[in-house]
């Protein structure tokens, strides 16, 4: 098509560029508004104009227990997200290797994973609640909550591994064997390094999807809330910029995770191309 050759840009380029720009503004502008409003002075309200600039509402967030148990929610959500990251990487990378060959039941397990991805979160949450009733067990963030999160992160991890392993050339592995490597050595020195950027992507999904997960956690985490549920309860009873401050803090954490992941992928790729 004409666009690919380096000629004059067609008019559709400008129309679609405008659409894209509008979409990006639509995507980010409301979030930026919230971040700005969270830095208001003590008399600030929920809308513009900005009344002073301060860190007052961040202080209020972790200060006296007036905005709920935000600190406690962080102290559960962060470790939970890290556990989910670790388990998601281990399980989906191993499972990804199994799917390199067809085996009896591989199709079935694939469909179960996809179904787990698209089942409405609320339905699953009720399911876990009912299961706990049957077993007469209490809901806890580190047991049933962990399971609810894994039912959401593992299918993502598996799909990423499909994409990554689909591009992996088995010749590298065979070459390692031909050169005398044993199974462990070829895994350690050949396969894992090649797959590493993909594994980081799985980790990023594991962490952020767990950290922000809401509908599945709703009935599964028990009486001690994770952060998204804490935010949800705050939306109904907190009418101060403290809510926005919490939004800013939690987004900073998400962005840090994204930056670490993308940064390390870029670093690996650059080091690789320099060597290669």
């Amino acid at each position: 098509m004409a666009e690919k050759s380096y000629g004059k840009r067609p008019w559709t380029f400008y129309v679609l560029a405008a659409l894209f720009t509008a979409f990006v503004i639509f995507l980010y502008a409301p979030m930026i508004v919230v971040y700005i409003l969270s830095f208001q002075g003590p008399t600030g309200g929920l809308v513009f104009p900005l009344r002073g600039v301060s860190l007052h509402w961040f202080d209020a967030l972790f200060g006296q227990a007036r905005t709920g148990d935000v600190g406690g929610a962080f102290s559960r959500s962060l470790p939970l997200a890290l556990i989910v990251l670790l388990v998601t990487v281990l399980i989906s990378v191993t499972a990804g290797f199994a799917f390199r060959r067809r085996f009896l039941g591989s199709g079935l397990i694939f469909y179960v994973a996809v179904a787990s991805l698209i089942v409405p979160g609320l339905v699953l949450s009720i399911g876990i609640l009912v299961t706990l009733k049957f077993l007469d067990l209490p809901a806890r963030w580190f047991t049933s909550g962990l399971g609810a999160h894994l039912s959401w992160t593992l299918p993502f991890g598996l799909l990423i591994m499909f994409a990554v392993l689909g591009r992996f050339n088995p010749a590298y592995e065979e070459a390692a064997y031909d050169l005398g490597a044993n199974k462990w050595q070829s895994l350690r020195h050949v396969i894992i390094p090649i797959l590493f950027p993909g594994i980081i992507a799985v980790a990023l999904f594991g962490f952020t999807l767990s950290y922000d997960e809401f509908p599945r956690s709703w009935l599964a985490v028990g009486s001690k809330n994770t952060l998204p549920i804490e935010i949800w309860t705050m939306t109904t009873n907190v009418t101060s910029p403290a809510l926005y401050a919490l939004g800013t803090v939690t987004t900073v954490i998400s962005f840090t995770a994204i930056a670490i992941a993308l940064g390390s992928i870029a670093y690996i790729q650059r080091r690789r191309s320099r060597r290669g």
Binding site: M1, E3, R9, P10, F13, L16, A17, L19, F20, F23, P30, M31, V33, V34, L46, V47, F48, I91, T94, A95, A98, F99, R101, F103, S106, I109, V112, S116, I118, V119, P120, L122, V123, L124, I126, G127, I128, V130, T131, K133, S144, G147, A148, L150, S151, L154, L158, L204, T208, D212, F214, P215, P228, I231, W232, T235, G247, T250, S254, F255
Partner: protein, 287 residues
Amino acid sequence: MKSTRSLIAYLQVAPLFVVLFLFFIVPLALVVVVSFYRYQVMVGLVPDFTLKNYVEILTSATVWKLYFSTVKFTVTVLVITGVLGFWISYFLVFHIRNLLTAIGLFLVCTVPFWTSNIIRMISWRPVLGKEGLINSALLDLGVVDQPVQWLLFSDFAVVVAYVHLYTLFMIVPIFNAMARIEPALLEAATDGGASRWGVVWNVVLPLSKTGIALGAVFVVTLVMGDFFVVTVMSGGLSGSATSGIFNDLKFLNYPRAAASAVILLIIVLLIATAIFRLVDVRKELAR
């Protein structure tokens, strides 16, 4: 040799299966079981085999009205996110000449996916509210002399939030499908005399349909299964197909909540199957 190989495969896939079994298959199975149970105040679950829960739900005019409104939202959001997703992906794949730029812009679209949905939803309040940014701008410009009321806490606000949250689920699979189209194919079509629209309609669209189908399945399940967005953005004015579930849970009426969940699940699965039947997604993924 072959049997040890498949034994290894089973060992590798076992942890995944165990987790999915415990936290997906068993819970769903028990939801179905409990949906036939009887509800008794203060007791909770009473084993039984009754269709009462289903009859109550399916004969309720409110439920039908809520489902109708949810389907209306789903179709609206599906059309908007589908059109946006298609053209944004088209722009990134076929109009951006530098691959790194395209990937960078693609990441710009996907970053919000890794941040909190609830915060992104709430962030519309200071924009759409009565004293929000849009209303202040309209008042200052003299376009209106009263704040526009229907911007927030309305069906409009619900659709805005859905589009904001879920367009990503369209962009990613469609972008993925389009990125695999051979540019030579488009050149061949142009050389063969196809117009610009002809190429989009007869070449790009058919080759992107796996992506569109995957995106559609995501959007359908997310909107059909949503309770939170509709509650916050409509200010409680609109309900969703899941509203009944929440009321039942409040009164610990698990059997009827389970029956509602089963009905929702069946509808979502039927739609997903219909979409997957149109396009063989697994074959396309393995391509």
